[in-house]
Every structure is written in C-alpha cells, then in structure tokens.
Symmetry: C5
Subunit: 280 residues, 5 copies
Amino acid sequence: MNQFLAGGILRNLLAGMVAVVMAVVMVPVTAQDQKAEALKMDRSKILSQPGVFGVFTTYKWLPEWYELPLSERMDYVSRVMELIKKHEDSVLVDVYLTAGLGGRSDFFFRIHSLELAKVQTFLREFRQTAIGKHVEVLDTLIGVTKPLNYITKERLPELYAGLASATYTGDVPRYAIVIPVKKSAEWWNLSFDQRLVEMKAHTLSTLGYMGSIKRKLYHSTGLDDADFITYFETSDLIAFNNLLTSLASIPENRYHVRWGDPITLGTILGPEKVVRVLAE
Amino acid sequence: MNQFLAGGILRNLLAGMVAVVMAVVMVPVTAQDQKAEALKMDRSKILSQPGVFGVFTTYKWLPEWYELPLSERMDYVSRVMELIKKHEDSVLVDVYLTAGLGGRSDFFFRIHSLELAKVQTFLREFRQTAIGKHVEVLDTLIGVTKPLNYITKERLPELYAGLASATYTGDVPRYAIVIPVKKSAEWWNLSFDQRLVEMKAHTLSTLGYMGSIKRKLYHSTGLDDADFITYFETSDLIAFNNLLTSLASIPENRYHVRWGDPITLGTILGPEKVVRVLAE
Amino acid sequence: MNQFLAGGILRNLLAGMVAVVMAVVMVPVTAQDQKAEALKMDRSKILSQPGVFGVFTTYKWLPEWYELPLSERMDYVSRVMELIKKHEDSVLVDVYLTAGLGGRSDFFFRIHSLELAKVQTFLREFRQTAIGKHVEVLDTLIGVTKPLNYITKERLPELYAGLASATYTGDVPRYAIVIPVKKSAEWWNLSFDQRLVEMKAHTLSTLGYMGSIKRKLYHSTGLDDADFITYFETSDLIAFNNLLTSLASIPENRYHVRWGDPITLGTILGPEKVVRVLAE
Amino acid sequence: MNQFLAGGILRNLLAGMVAVVMAVVMVPVTAQDQKAEALKMDRSKILSQPGVFGVFTTYKWLPEWYELPLSERMDYVSRVMELIKKHEDSVLVDVYLTAGLGGRSDFFFRIHSLELAKVQTFLREFRQTAIGKHVEVLDTLIGVTKPLNYITKERLPELYAGLASATYTGDVPRYAIVIPVKKSAEWWNLSFDQRLVEMKAHTLSTLGYMGSIKRKLYHSTGLDDADFITYFETSDLIAFNNLLTSLASIPENRYHVRWGDPITLGTILGPEKVVRVLAE
Amino acid sequence: MNQFLAGGILRNLLAGMVAVVMAVVMVPVTAQDQKAEALKMDRSKILSQPGVFGVFTTYKWLPEWYELPLSERMDYVSRVMELIKKHEDSVLVDVYLTAGLGGRSDFFFRIHSLELAKVQTFLREFRQTAIGKHVEVLDTLIGVTKPLNYITKERLPELYAGLASATYTGDVPRYAIVIPVKKSAEWWNLSFDQRLVEMKAHTLSTLGYMGSIKRKLYHSTGLDDADFITYFETSDLIAFNNLLTSLASIPENRYHVRWGDPITLGTILGPEKVVRVLAE
C-alpha cells in the first residue's frame, strides 16, 4: 500500500478513534480526580523537603492571544487550571503574573516535583492546550532542593538558631522575584572553610530581612546555565531592594559571574485569581 | 455538558454582557473621573518623594500599526489617554517619543506609583487596548526613589547647599534620556567613606550642568538587572554630551559594569501633544 | 470534553493503533529494509569507536505544529522514523525530548556517522519531511570521537584501571545532558604534563559517579565554536548535580571560557516511544 | 525569460523613463520647492560646522518589499526623495546602499541637522511612506560635531598644519564606512596631556591616508551607546584596511571597549542614483 | 498632476515596458554571454592574486521555501546559476551547503572580485531572484587578499621554502570551513619582530597539515568586525580538528579576541551539483 494513502487512512482512523475515546473518557474524570486528590502532594512538605525539583518556565503571549474575546480566554485559562488539578498528584504548579514588570515576559510557572520527567509531562500537555498554543517560551530554569550545606546546627549553632527563629511576619506576600546565580571558578576552588566564611557574612546580611522577605534556594549546576536559582517572596519591595544592595556589598559578590540576567519580578497569583487575572 | 459547547455559550453570553456593561459604564465615566480627580496624585509630590516606584517600559510598533488609517490611530491613542485618566489616582504616566532616535523603539512610558502592582494593573489594561495590541515590549526597567544617601546636609553642608541652590533655568525640556547603571562588586565592597569620596567627585562634575539639565534617580538593585535608572531632561543635548563625558572622566566610571546598554533618548510629549504625535 | 483528562486511556489506545497501522504501512518497505539491515551500523561499535562524528542538532516546533491534529502529527513522526530506518546503514540517530526542560527547544537529535557528509544528507532529507517543515533549528554542535589522550594504560595504570572497572550500574538512563566546553588559550598553552595533572584531578572527581552517570566525549575544535561536547546519561539528576559541582571545584574549571551556554537537558526517547511522545 | 539577463538594457530604458516621468511629476512641486530652496541648508557648511547633529539609521527591507513590482518600488523611492526635498530646510539626508555588504542591513541614512527633533520629525514622516512601511530599523547612532579638541593650531602647530594641508586627492569616493567607538574608563580617566600624547600618535597614523580617505567625527557620549561615531569615505578600500590596521597598532587601541560592532560598509548613492539603485 | 495619479500612471507604464523589454532582451542573451565568456576572470589567477576582495555571505531559507515543489525550486536555482554566469566577468561565485552542519544557516556564497561594488551588484540582483526572495541573510564577512607579510623569502628562506613545497595531496576537498579572527590591541601593539616570532610558530604548526588541508587568508580590519577571514578546504576533518587544536596551543592564541563565533562548516558544491543539491 502506498504510504501516503496509508497515512490518510491512519489519519481518518485515528481521528475517529479520538472522538470516540474522548467521549468515553469524559465519564470517569471525577473518579480519576478523586484518586488524584488522595495522592496529591502536600504543599507544605514539597516546599520544605530536600530532593525536590523546581522548574521555572517563563512565557510571553503571542500577539494573537490579545485578539481572542475575553470569555474565550477565561475559558482557556480554566482548562489549564483543570490540567493543573489533573496532575496535582505529581506536580505542584504556582502561577505568577509578570506582564508589565518582567521584561518581555507575561507570566511564569514555578513547578515542583519529586521527578523531573513529571514536570515535562505536565508542560507538554500544557503546550497542547489553547493557552499553550498562544505562548512563546522565553526561558527555563531547573534546580533541585538540598539540605543546608553551610549553616548547620553543628557548625554554627548561633547563626543556625538565628535563622531558625527568624520567621516571616509580613502580610501575605504579593510579589515574587527569581534571580539565577552563577559563581566563578575562583569561588568553587575556594576551600570549604573559606566559602563558609563568606556564607556566614551572606547569612548575617539577610537575617534582618527575614521578617519581611521569604526565600528559597534551588541548586542548578549542570541542570541549566546557572549554579543556583534564588526565589524570593515579599510585599515590601523597598526592603527587598535594601537586602539585595546589602548582598551586593559583601565579598561573596566578587564571585558572581551571573546574578540575575534576567531578574524576573512578578505578582503572585493565588489559585482563586489565576483565571480572571491571567485571562485579562 | 461538553466543555467546547459550554465554551461557545459562555463566549456568547460574556460577549453580550461585555457590550451591555461597557455601554453602561461609559456613562458614569465623568462621575468616576470626578472622584479620581479628588484622589489623583499630586504630580510635583510624586516626582519629589522617596518611596515612589518608577517603571520605564519601551515599545515598538508592530508593522500592522502603520497600515491603519490615521483617524483610527488617533482614536486609539485617545483611548489610551482615557485609560491614563482612569488610573490617575494610582499611577502617573508620562509618554516619550523615541521613534527615529531610540534604537529600535518607538515610544516609552515612565510610570510612577506608590504601589508597583498598580503599575502592572495599568499596563495590563493598556495591553488590552487597540494600541497595546499593536506594540511589542522591548524592555522594562523598575526602580524606586530613595532619600539622598551620600550628599546630605549634615555630612557635606557646602556641597548640599550647592545642589540645593542649583536650579534648572533652561527652557521647558524637550528631550529625555534614560540610562540604566550597574556597578561592580568592587564598588559595592568599598567602604561607605570611599564611596562618598567618589560620589563627591560625581556631584562636583554635575553641578555646573544643573542649570540646563534636570535629573532623577531610581534604585533598582534586585528589581531588575541594573542598580540604578538615571533619568535626565534637557533642551541642550550638547551640554548633556559634555556632562556625560565629564562623568566618564572621574574614577566612579571605573566601577561601571553597565552604563546604558541601552541609552534611550526620546522627545517629551506633553499631554496635549500625545494623541497627535504618537498617532502620526 | 477535555482531551487531556482522557490522556492516560487515550494514549494506550492510540499506542495500540499506531502499532497496528505501522505494521500495515511497513509492508512495502521490507525489501529495502532488508538491505539496510545488512549494512546498518552496529550500535555498540559506533558508540565506542574513535573517528566517529557526532552531530547534535536542536529543534523548536513552529507554532503551526500545535495546530495539526494529533493523528496527523503521529503520522508525520512515523515518516521520520522511516527516514531514520532508510539511512540506518550510514547514520545512527537518537532522539531526545527537551520540551519544557531545555530552554526554548523541543527536541534534539544526536547523530553518529563515520562521514559528516552523510549526516548532512540525512538532515537535508529530514528538512523535507512534514516535521522538518514545522521546526526551526536552534543550534548545531559537531564533534568527533578520539582515543583517550590523557588517562592511558601506560601513563596512569591505576587510574586507567579504575576507569575501566567503574561501570554503570543504575537503571536504564532516562535523562541526557549535553554540555559544550571551550577552554582558554592559557589551557591550551599549558604543557602536556601540566594538563595531565589537571585531567587526573578531573578523572578522580568523576570516578565515584560512574556507577550512576554515563558519559561520552566529542572533540570539536575547529568544527564548531566549542572545543568539546560532553554528553551524559543518567537517571539520578541529583548525583549529576553533585558531579558537576565537583567538576566546578577543581582547578580545570579556571580554564573554561564556555561550559554550557547552553546546557541542554532532555529525556531519552527509545525508538518505541518516539512516535507517540514526540507527536504529542 | 530571465529578467536579470536583461538587466543592463532594462536598466537603461527604465532610467530614461524615470527621468521623464519624474520631470512630469515634479511640476506641481516647484512653488513649494522654491521656498525650500531659499531656506535649505548649505551642504558644505553643515558638513564642516560644529554643533551639528548627525543621525545614522540603518534599515533592512521586510521580505514583502521584494514582492512589489519594480515600477512600484521606484515610485515609492521617488516619494522618499520628495520627502527629503520637503525637509531640506531643516535636515540634510544622505543615502547609502549596504545590501550585500553591511551584515543584515540594506541601506542607511546619514542625516544632519542643527536640531535633533527635526531629524525625528523627518524620520517619523519617512516611516509613514510606503518604503517606511516596508523596512525594519536595525540600529540608530546619534552624535554631534564639535571643534577639534586635541590637535589645535596653538597646541601642535606643525601637526595642525599637516592636517590642514593634507587634502583628499582621490576620485569621488564610492564607499562609506561607519564605525562606532567607545573608550574605557581608563581612557577617560587619563589626564588631558596623556590623552593628547595618544591622539598625536593617532593623528600621525592617519596623515598618510588623508589623500585617499575622508573622515568625519561625531561625539556620542550619553546620546547613544558609543562615545564617537567615526565616518569615512573612500574609493580605495585597501588603503582603508591599511589605515585601520595602522590605528589598531597604536596604544590608543588598548582603550577601545567598542570599535565597530557593527562596522557598516556601504556604497554612496548620489541623489541621481538613489531612486534607480535603491528600488532595484 | 496629482502625485498619486502620477504614481499610478508611472506604475502602469513601467509595468508594460518591462514586459516588452524583457521579451526583446531574451534574444541577445547568447551574444552577451559570449562576450562575458571572453572577459571572464581566470579562476586560478583570482584565487592566487593579492588585491582581490572576498565576500562571504550566509543564508537561511525562509520556511516558505520548503513549501515549493521541487521542480520549482530546481528552476529557481537554475536562474541563480544563470545569474552567476552573467556576472562571471566581474565576480567569481562559489556555493557551499551548510544545512544541518552550519548552525542555523543553510548555504553560503564565497564571492571574489577585484571591485567590491561588483559584488554588491551581483548580490542585489541575487536578492531579486526567486531564491533571493526566499532567504534571510544571517551574516556577511568582507576581506581582501594581500601578499604574505610575515613569512617572506628574504626574511625566512627555509620556512618560506617549506611553505612553497608543501602542497595539497589529498582528494578533491569536500568540506570548507570559514573562521573569522580578531586580534587584541596587545597583538597589534607588539613590534613587527615580536609578531614575526609568533607567526613563525603559527606557520610551523601548520606545515604538517598542508598535504591534507588547503587554506586562504583575507584581511578584514575596518571592512567588517574581524581582522581576518581564514578559509580552509579539506576532506579530512579529523586532521582539521588536529590542526586547529595545534593552533590553539601556541602563544598566538592568547591574542585572539575572536576566533570563530561563528565557525561555519559546509560541503563544497561544485557547479554541476549546485542545482540539484541546493534545491533539494
């Protein structure tokens, strides 16, 4: 049989199948969801454990997006929310709005998972949605969480205690900032003790800001073109500017070959806001 | 009900709704405006206070823009002016024309607000306008104003007095120039007193130009990929070239890792000119 | 109904269908295939010999791709699989999925051949396929395999033995990482013995990871803008992050002028998975 | 039949035609022209005075341009010539063809004016023409002419005399080259006398080439991302290559942080050639 | 007369004229060709003389190209071959296929001429062809050949003799590699004798490869953003990788500020192959 003919038949067959299967599959969705509910990851655990992968992926709307009527866009965002729900047993997805603030980007996802391949599965399905077809990927950062390696209880009990007791006391944070970091060969060739001295100074610089700024660290060496992804949440951007100026003023800064480039600043979209705000 | 069908119905319903609501909303605009008028920010205050966010966002027309008839373009610009008016209680928007002068860009906004999220709200609504759909975002810079931190009355009374008495005596400025600045780790690791010495030299270099050049400083560290946004207004570009050459010739310049890149030069569009000039 | 909710069941059904239909379509190809079968390269040989060219070429789907129905896309991927089969006597093609993980890219090929021109012939025919018409080339890296030049049996018998006995004991690797490397003029101007000292330290840093990470080296100087292409396979990305951090911490890192930029991380698609996964 | 083989004859015929038709079209313009004629700037003055702004703006045809019939393109170029004429009392426009030579660009304008805003006005009207709608802006450089600041009559009478007596003796120049220059903080922090030493060496390197190469300098610090725009005209590109190699070989070159990037080389289009050559 | 009306009439007149003239011109093509034949440049002379300009211009197919039927594409390539023939008295054009190997590019031209303006004329006519309308220009390099300036018979008779006697003995080369080179201010500020020492080492490193690798040098300083274009032909890419590694290992490499970036590798298309291979 001619391959092109075969292709045609294959196409028709598959097209028909898809229609049938989709009709059938509609029913058990809730059942499947219930199971997902049972399995879904505990947010507070996933955000505090080591060994969790974090993927930051930044998008820009294609110009066509703005041509769609608002109702259609809201509908499309709703589908993405369903997709997020569908995958909630394997990936935890947060959405941030960068439009107007984050350079050329419009929004980004922060996705946590114990398995990087699950993040890929989610993102591939996302690209198949109407929204996924209306965006351009600008950037992707990949990191993994690890236990604290410098400021430990044994090594620096006082500083560790300071860190442990310094808790966030601000409002629910409205802004998130993502800053990739790459350090020079000189940094990595320092002895552990030399790096410990610098990280002590680093930690001291941050202590005073921990009441108003949350932070989280991902290790990236070899997974993307950074060594770390530093993630911050705050409602007080002036305090944040002071913190970063303070971090610029310690010797550790001499070892940065990348610090930002880009810095991505966005507003945090709670699940209840995503559909309305992202679609607008 | 099938979601695709639901999408269709939802779309129609919402589309109808939007039409109705917009018709209704148009009427009370003046009422709403009056309230806004009462609340709207005092321009001279917002431009002189610390703690004010400044966002610079640069645009390029998509090729389709030039295909629209002039009347339609003027109409579209008018809508943006209405949007600016609508938001005037929370954001102060200035418009600058860079077409032909500012690299690939065509115009930029400088937006001031006490709250960065309000700037995002305005810019998202802007993207929904006919103009917002005909532009590409080239760049965004974010900074915040702070009190003078080097040349204070207590520390350097004479220089401070010199600054205070040096007032702009030129014509209404026609040109604005935006220059992002990033300083090296070496700079930030200097002691405050060492940096003070350099900033004294910096200030002395500028004193002679303050009659013909206005300037304003925004702090950016951690908010975007610069440390400062320096903003200038002048009608005397030769004096400006002399000032910048003078600033290049002092030791502070050794600590610049970014100075411009890009420098953006535009003409200042007073509100009365925006519609005609931007649309043309 | 949402087709993504139905993903699991749909996938299984389609996978079965494709197997059947492909079996049908394959019929007229057999004669030609048998000849190819006889000539085709021995995979394990080609992957272990010196003098073999390796080309890494990274693609991004054009937006139109996502508009095609799934059945059509699966059909198109099948054609590429046939093309790979057609050329199997001269090129060995591996496919990797980077969508969601590898920056802006969606997938990449790693192609081995004894003759670089054969790779070009294959890639030109690939560009003529429906898929080739729906992708943009993002990057190409070209290298060639060579015998070990530092750690040889004669020179460093113990280390050589360590390398020889350290075999991969992990699961079938799920991830591949490609990292281009360029070394400074200072490196290349070191004496051979000085470089040998550094490469000994390099090798010692890697020994402990060889049970969980596979690696392969291609020489690129003059063939593209890197000196080496380093290729890794693993299922343990945390071990991989540790290995690369370890390699950052030895003096050799001081001689890197390029290390990544970009790092490309993808999942390995075995032949049985390519059609289904790539098309989705 | 291949239209390019016919190029020579076709060109001659068309050139004649255009002359005739343009003569016809020009009639109703004369009154307006006469006024312009009276006001228009003196070319030799504007090219020799200090305090004159020079804007270099580089364009690339959009792919659609090549789809237009030649006659239409010639018509469109004629309109631009009329626009240039219309503005001749405020801006002096030169046109250069870079197609095939200047990287990705196709042509550039060099525009002189006593007022930068007038250049913007002209360029905005240009963007409204049919040609302006068929181009993409690649780059813009802005500078201003100033009196000689190093080699003056008082300071270095002999060298000054050498410069004054070295006049261009070559053919009408066919090529123009534009090279932006940025100098390091180290340069600008040298004392004036140290810089004078270097500029003396610079000038001595150029003296021997002034018979075959014309040059002109624009100061850019603060107006764009360069410190200078150096502009050259010549018919002897080998001499030009020798001159630039000679300038690379003096200490001043150690202070270049940008020298070119891009260098733009084009052929000079006299007014009589613009319509025919640019449109082709 | 209204200019727009005049435009319309002009358009119609010219459109008619072109049709007529093109029909007429068809006939004398062969006559014109015969004259060209007589004048055409001697390939071996043009490739060995100093004072010859070399332009390297790299292209990428626009996506539309792949949509055209093969017969149409072959026809279009044939037209380009005719154009090359038409200009053979002034420019010598070689074609190279980089698709799949040369980063994002698909093919490049190397064009020699005694006059740079002739190259521009050819390339402008090329852009008017159907192929020229289906490509994007990625890069252009411009250089000129000069007599050997370091290794001369008088200065280094032995090395010169070595160079003279080392002739290419390999197969007809299948691959070409283009590597732009830029050297630092430190290099250019070395004395001639110091540079001679380095170039002696350079030449000694290459001698052993001259049997398998051909090379040619173009000087670019001031003509584009490189100092040299180095061009190589070979059938032995492993030897080429060894040669370039060898050149990386001598002190001269310390003076490279650009070496490649990009390196462009392509297969050499003899005239008999261009139409078939380029069109495919």
